[in-house]
Amino acid sequence: MGAQLRVYRRRMRSVKATKKITKAMELISASRILKAQQRVAQSSPYATELTRAVSAVATFSSTSHPLTTASVNVKRAAVLIITADRGMAGAYSNAAIKEGDLLIAGLKARGVEVAAYLVGRKSVNYYRFRDRAIANSWTGFSDNPQYANAVEVSESLINAFTSDSTSEILGVDELHIVYTEFKSMITQTPVAAQVLPLEVDASERPEGLLPMYEFEPNAGEVLDALLPRYVQARVFNAMLQSAASEHAARRRAMKSATDNADELIKSLTRLANAARQAEITQEISEIVGGADALASASAGSE
């Protein structure tokens, strides 16, 4: 076998091995998207009920609560950025980080200091590499977040939010989340949302008039207990959506990698075939040339 042909065959073998890996990752992600989507769906009744309750309290009580009243001069804002732990998901993590950068730039333009809270190894590495300050970070659960993880993250955020200037933790006046919204299998968009102080979006508000509520024990205490859970639910929902988006992004990235491998194998096969044919042609012409030379040599000696 000629050297050229051997090189082509070797490259084809390695591309085929890579294709097997990317194909496997594609299938794994595809099966996990479905599960992640179901988890988003399962967590939504809780989120809807909680949003309904929070908007009821926020609308119908005159109690001012630190979690609902906007601070007049905002000095520091917390930004929670949710990214993946692992790569191989195309632009997924980078898109979220970019969206976060955009939000941070906007906040800084308003003269607000930013405290970065990061979820996922990708964003942590990005911030470390650029020597940016990280207020807190969590890794290891981006593809399958549990409610306990959301509670852990929210606790740190709420602590920062409720602490005043006298305590040791630097307080924040606003809380934003940057996550990737799972719109469909094909579309996932990074979004930045403000969580605290409370802004009940019109889109999330349930239809119709809100009933006049009685509060037990009283509106203030209900709010005290309700709002941390609201933050937890928001963080949890953001994490679940991000997880679903991560799997979808990975599936798409791996699908195009598999397609590319197919393409590459096809063109390498063509090249290998051409090389083999060229070898054969050369051998034939060598034999014919040799025979001719022999024939003319023996003809000359007679």
């Binding site: 988890r39 399962q42 967590s43 009744p45 809780y46 009920e49 909680l50 309904r52 309750a53 009821a56 309290v57 409610y147 959301a150 009933p211 006049m212 509520y213 009685e214 509060f215 037990e216 024990p217 205490e221 209900v222 207990a225 309700l226 859970r229 937890q232 639910a233 949890f236």
Partner: protein, 83 residues
């Protein structure tokens, strides 16, 4: 008499939903029973049992670790931290 539409939900999933004739739960202020046509209410629950008497006569008990109950227009939602 109309029935209550009850939903018991935890952050991870919907635990139970259906029609019920009575719901009882323990709030910060004490035990609370809810029958149809109860006034709109929002209460903080403490750790304990929530009992739902379903319309078909069966009695369902859930152990709740902190949460909320919200009642409006014969819709009862119980939001448990874990249920």
């Amino acid at each position: 008499m109309s029935n209550l539409t009850v939903e018991v939900v935890s952050p991870e999933k919907r635990v139970w939903s259906g029609e019920a004739t009575m719901v009882s739960a323990r709030t910060l202020e004490g035990d609370l029973g809810i029958l149809p046509d109860h006034a709109p209410l929002l209460g903080v629950l403490v750790d304990g049992q929530v009992v739902v008497k379903a319309a078909d006569g069966s009695v369902n008990e859930f152990t709740i670790n902190g949460g909320f109950i919200s009642v409006s227009n014969n819709r009862v939602s119980i939001l448990g931290e874990s249920a």
